[in-house]
Amino acid sequence: MSTQTSGGINFKKVNDIIDSCGAKKSNLIAILQKVQDEFKYLPQDAITYIGTKIDGLSPATVYGVATFYAQFSLEPKGKYEIKCCDGTACHVRGSMPVYTYLMQRFNLKEGKYTSDDGMFSVETVSCLGACGLAPVVVINGKVYPQMTSDAIKIIIDTIVAQENEG
């Protein structure tokens, strides 16, 4: 069996994930989630591979599923994944200024959610279930409560400083 890579993708890994979940149409979401965990995003080659390998699916169909759900990303995520909650509570307590600050700081726009240096990616999520702490930002799993655009600036500055030292 070949473990050829194309565009940096190790197909053997994708293949192992498909085997471990079961090569069935109904397991597609689970497969995509695990592939995303592995690569931090869904590479096009992986989508093509999954669509070719599993009966009843095609690359176009898998791509459709991957673009339908907000949980899947088709571009590489940054080293720091910033989730900016925009659920109702966070929204009314001012999540948008935080989000707007992040987008401007990393020079992002709609359709481009990862900074050019690959360090930061920003996305909105619809509720983290921590409404008492609104507005909430989560960076690589760590929760930052009651954010403002000034507070998030300090947090990002700290991360950037750490990165520059290390």
């Binding site: 069996m1 070949s2 050829q4 194309s6 197909f11 053997k12 293949n15 096009q44 989508i47 093509t48 591979y49 669509g51 070719t52 390998k53 699916l57 095609s58 690359p59 176009a60 169909t61 791509y63 459709g64 673009t67 339908f68 088709l74």
Partner: protein
Amino acid sequence: MTNTLFINGKECEYTNEPNLLEVIRNNGFSVPTFCYRPDLTQYGACRMCVVEIEGRGIQSSCTMPPEPGLKIHTNTEKTRRIRKIVLELLLANHDRECTTCDKSGKCELQKYAQEYGINDIRFAKKKPQDYLPIDNSNPSIVRDPNKCILCGACVRACAEFQGHSVLGFANRGSKTVVQPMAGRALGSVDCVFCGQCQAVCPTGALTIKTDIDRVWDLINDKNKKTAVQMAPSVRVALGEEFGLKPGENVIGKFNAALRQLGFDLVFDTNFSADLTIMEEATEFIERLTKGENLPLFTSCCPAWVRYLETQHPDLLNHLSSCKSPQGMLSPVIKAVVPKYFEDYTEENLYVVSIMPCTAKKAEAVRGQLYSNGRAQTDVVLTTQEIARMLKSAGINLATITPEANDSPFGQYTGAATIFGASGGVAEAAVRTAYEFVTHESLENIDFKPLRGVDKAHRAKEAEIDIKGTKVKVRVVSTLKEAEKSIRELKEGKADFQLLEVMACPGGCVNGGGQPRSCDNSQIKEERAQGLYKEDSELPFRKSHTNPDIIKLYEEFLEKPNSHKAHELLHTTYSDMFKNSYRDLV
């Protein structure tokens, strides 16, 4: 069992209709639809087929099963209002440049907008900068996403007919589009060019790539000679464009019309269908005798050939090396005609073929079918395109006086004419193969089990005893069905020796280039009947008895599978599997 329900106050009977819409239509009432296609699964996307049911309110009739006693109203103020709003919203972000649209006059959106009197759209028109680019990269099909209404008919056709899903939905909500994987060009993915997606498309979002202007240029160029050939199934469908019944054979009128249009020589692809049988039957017998590369796959359908090349290159050795009838006749015309007619040379002779098929356009530009830097078949037109040319030239096919086609390829047999229907190629091949082997006359030449098509496109089989050797023939239409036979073969379970595959449901009579008929499940059967009727009436019904074929071999090709025959009539295939991880799949 018969039940009754009420439609617009009238008591109506129904039996096994799958949904209310069919009941309504079968009882002579009409309800508009975009996404509903009787041969595809119900989708319930467009909401045009809404009806009002007493006690149940508004329901989409395409997704609701019939129940006894329902009181249905198809045309109430409420349903009309809903349909009008649906139309208005669809038109709001639609490219409404109707006059320059290929589907103009045949577009269902245009038709219903006109019928429902949509003369003002309240919503702002889409800005030019918001238009998505038109995808022209496919040799057969043009995709214009700005005219897509997201009815999903093409997505279902690709998945349910060809099992292939080259087209899919992407994104969500207002950003939803129908496109190939990751928005790639339709020319760069594994599309087989069958054109069923554009055949079911209600608008101009998917259309046939037209070559009409190239044909006018050939006809108008005084230094060029033009020969035209037309496929079996065109003759039983073209009449529909001129108000004739499906299945009515218009070949004589078509010959006359093509001459009036300005073609110098009018030939019939039926002739080379006979030629195909001569070669393919010989090839089949050879493989049977040697016991190698069985089952033999027919190679007439370019979508099937492309499917094997891109998906199953390991099975290309099963594919007959015979070119398709189109592919055979063009080089034969260019080689033989100059011997019979003065002023004709291989260089100044151009061959136009008229096909029911969009994939033939792609076949014609295959590298293997080029000689001296020129495609052997210079231009391929579909039935729809030739109908448009005839109309623009003011030729009414319905009233023209029939004429015969030209020598030296004037005659054809019944075996050739049934090529247009699923099962025809196999039937024709068996008629000839039997006699080639036994040298006895085959009495009962109607292979009824190979004819017809059911809704599920199930495989058809027949067994024939050739002097003690039992030969099993299998016929499938749609690539989804073909894939099942391929599985059997790969698992070592295939018990058939000849496999005929046509990618379009029901064969070429229902090809992607035929007059639009996607709302009529019966039409492919009616067209096929037209072909079987012609078969039963022709003086010669076995390919090897065609006097012109016999003459061509005597004077030019020597014998089937000879060196000369191989040069002109046979071809090669190539592995086009694209992905680098093939050994993992």
